[in-house]
């Protein structure tokens, strides 16, 4: 694994910085010689997760996100750390048309895409407040639905 296959980035919580996060994920995934389907899945999932933190976690207040991407065995693992109020996106329910609008939670579209694009989607509270989200995508060239 060359050095570019492990990268770290800390950015302010601003949707204008999402492109920097996507660039980092692409750089690491290409250094890992990940197939295009894998790269696309990972970029999508990390963008959705970071967007949720910025838009719904910090909710316009100043903050930061730290992104770490690295190769672990045959998986690319991306960790997003923030100090927004603790929120576990992994428990957001799958889309259910029977739920009345007033009971629906925001962010469902992004989480739906994260689930489909990753092999692992884990949350744990950050010890000093905030969240640590770990997204894992195998180097499998097939989309999850095709395996």
């Amino acid at each position: 694994m060359d050095e570019a296959a492990s990268r770290h980035l800390r950015i302010e919580a601003d949707v204008e910085r999402l492109a920097d996060i996507r660039a980092l994920v692409r750089e690491v995934a290409r250094a890992c010689r990940a197939p295009e389907v894998c790269i696309n899945d990972l970029v999508q999932a990390v963008d959705e997760a970071a967007t949720n933190v910025i838009v719904r976690g910090y909710h316009g207040k100043p903050g930061w996100i730290e992104v770490t991407a690295r190769l672990v065995d045959a998986n690319i693992v991306v960790t997003l750390e923030d100090e927004a109020p603790t929120f576990d996106p992994t428990v957001v329910p799958a889309p259910d048309l029977s739920i009345p609008p007033q009971h629906r939670r925001p962010g469902g579209m992004g989480v739906h895409l994260i689930r489909l694009a990753t092999d692992g989607f884990d949350h744990r509270p950050r010890p000093r407040g905030g969240n640590i989200l770990t997204l894992t995508r195998s180097l499998d060239p097939r989309a999850k639905e095709d395996r």
Binding site: V43, T51, I99, R104, G107, G108, M109, G110, L113
Partner: protein, 139 residues
């Protein structure tokens, strides 16, 4: 991340406005797409082709924008940008209703974007074509 748009006109069976998107469509710029289409609708545009050939990434906020574009082109208010979940369910209801529309069509979606459309059901709401010529013939 800037997203550029280009505008063209074509004559099929109806006058068609073609909006080409270049770059990446994400939470930083999705409102721009809804605003641009709102202006077009106010100017009298009623048939819109969105060319995705040069679009390399579409986040879920881009899907909300597409859904908003559809509402605008049907003379409805665009959805609340914060209501991602509601937009998702509205899309689901429209698909369940078997709603079909031809006022807004897509062309040139790259595989990653076609997959996002498919994974969220939007592919069932928007007629999608390989290229502009095929799309123009379909209006």
């Amino acid at each position: 991340m800037a997203m550029q748009t280009t505008m063209d006109r074509a004559e099929g069976r109806v006058p068609i406005t073609i909006m080409g998107l270049t770059g990446e469509l994400d939470a930083s710029n999705f409102q721009q797409l809804i605003d641009d289409v709102s202006r077009l609708y106010d100017e009298g545009v009623r048939h819109l082709l969105i060319d995705l050939t040069e679009l390399s990434f579409m986040a879920s906020s881009g899907l909300v924008a597409l859904h908003g574009v559809l509402r605008v082109m049907h003379g409805e208010a665009p959805p609340d940008p914060e209501a991602g979940w509601e937009a998702f369910h509205a899309i689901g209801r429209a698909v369940q209703d078997g709603s079909t529309q031809s006022e807004v069509q897509l062309c040139g979606a790259q595989p990653a974007i076609a997959q996002v459309l498919q994974r969220t059901g939007l592919d069932q709401l928007f007629p999608s074509h390989v290229d502009r010529a095929t799309a123009i013939a379909a209006f």
